[in-house]
Amino acid sequence: MSSHRIPRVGIGGPVGSGKTMLIEQIVPILSAKGYKAGIISNDVVSKEDAERMRRNLATERGLMQEDLVIGVATGGCPHTAVREDPSINLSVVEEMELKHDYLDLILIESGGDNITTTFSPALADYFIYIIDVTGGDKYPRKRGLGIESCDLLVINKIDIAPYVGADLKIMERDAKIVRSSKPTVFVNSKTGQGVDGIVSNIIRDLLFEARPKSLVKN
């Protein structure tokens, strides 16, 4: 049984919004600062995302051990797996906590639409919801559990906003209205533009500026 809870970030968003690519940008930045992360990927129909992150972040770049990327099948119920019955995810998280107590945080990725996605507080301590501009600049204004309840809203693919007629200023204005004082970050997760801001939010609001465990021990 796990004795030390490692801070956990839930990253939710619609299929194709850029969750996996965002994690592939976040982990190297965290790693450069000395923070070690584990990844749990809730795959809807394939192991592709977990395998890609394992290959990219562990095998090729050596930023983490290969067994720190774990794929979880959800039986076609990704919302259930992170919300009302997170049993399997909790079990995998606790196994990770037990085997790798040196980790600073665990990233839990799950596909899920804006209407219903939210993470059980038993599973995630900090909730990032990611959307992209292709849904139009009305997206934040239309609200939804994901956009409204997340700790950090990420709006991705800002580079193609002009081509899909999405006005980022409107999205920013509406996000502020809908989310009160909670932050929103605009990114291009393909190039990494804006991702530093996400990492800063995680370090400040989840880790409370704690130094990486590896540096504290040394």
């Binding site: 592709e48 979880v72 099948a73 039986g75 119920c77 797996a81 019955d85 997170p86 049993s87």
Partner: protein, 234 residues
């Protein structure tokens, strides 16, 4: 006509544990049905047969036997016997993914129940045995310890276990698009005698006579385990 109108806390606990809303993670498993659905176009009667074989050849003689044995161990406060049941069932599960999913579900079930059931020594002792590596927490045994701790009668616990299995396969079939919702309920209704018979035949079976034999289903689950694209844990 109702002969008995008495209800009590045990009945509510029984409903709680049999509810698909009760968190166990079992909705994420298809027991190989997903692999079968890729091989052939399945109809309603195929799902019924699939569940029947599982109940008669696997879940009845192994899971239900383990559940009955767990109850006896709890009644006698016999931890060593409970650990034998735990280990025997664990090693009988030959599909790795099914085995690990069962252990994960069982452990989470115990944590959930121990959040609201206090002062039950067997529940605590079993969890201690898991945390020290002396038990695995495999689902039917964890379920038995939890149900016993909630004072649910043994035969009814057997019914919940097998009913829960049946519903989890029906749920998988619905999500795979094999069945529509009325068909699912019809199958559950038709399978009532099979569920009942499987409980009564196995719940008092000694652990030394526990068995399972469904090589076709084992191979199917092995195929599912290695599929690169799938919705379900095997």
């Amino acid at each position: 006509m109702f002969m008995d109108n008495e209800i009590d806390n045990q009945d509510v606990s029984l409903l709680q544990m049999s509810d698909s809303f009760f968190p166990t993670g079992l909705y994420a498993t298809s027991n190989g049905l997903e692999a079968l659905s890729k091989i052939k176009k399945l109809k309603s009667k195929d799902i019924s047969q699939f569940i029947t074989i599982f109940l008669r050849q696997v879940v009845g003689p192994s899971d239900c036997t383990a559940l009955g044995s767990t109850y006896e161990s709890c009644r006698k406060k016999d931890i060593p016997a409970l650990l034998i049941t735990d280990r025997s069932l664990y090693f009988m599960r030959i599909i790795e993914e099914t085995r690990s999913a069962s252990v994960r579900s069982g452990n989470q079930l115990l944590k959930c129940v121990s959040a609201f059931v206090k002062h039950k020594k067997m529940l605590k002792d079993y969890q201690d045995a898991i945390s020290t590596g002396n038990a695995t927490g495999i689902y039917p045994v964890s379920f038995g310890v939890a149900a016993w701790s909630l004072d649910i009668p043994k035969n009814k616990a057997g019914l919940i276990l097998l009913y829960g299995f049946t519903v989890s396969v029906i749920g998988a079939a619905l999500r795979l698009g094999i069945l529509q919702h009325f068909d699912g309920q019809d199958i559950i209704h038709q399978l009532r005698p099979v569920i009942l018979e499987s409980v009564l035949k196995n719940i008092n079976r000694p652990i030394s006579n526990m068995w399972q034999f469904a090589p076709g289903l084992d191979i199917l689950q092995m195929k599912h385990e290695i599929m690169s694209s799938k919705m379900f844990i095997t």
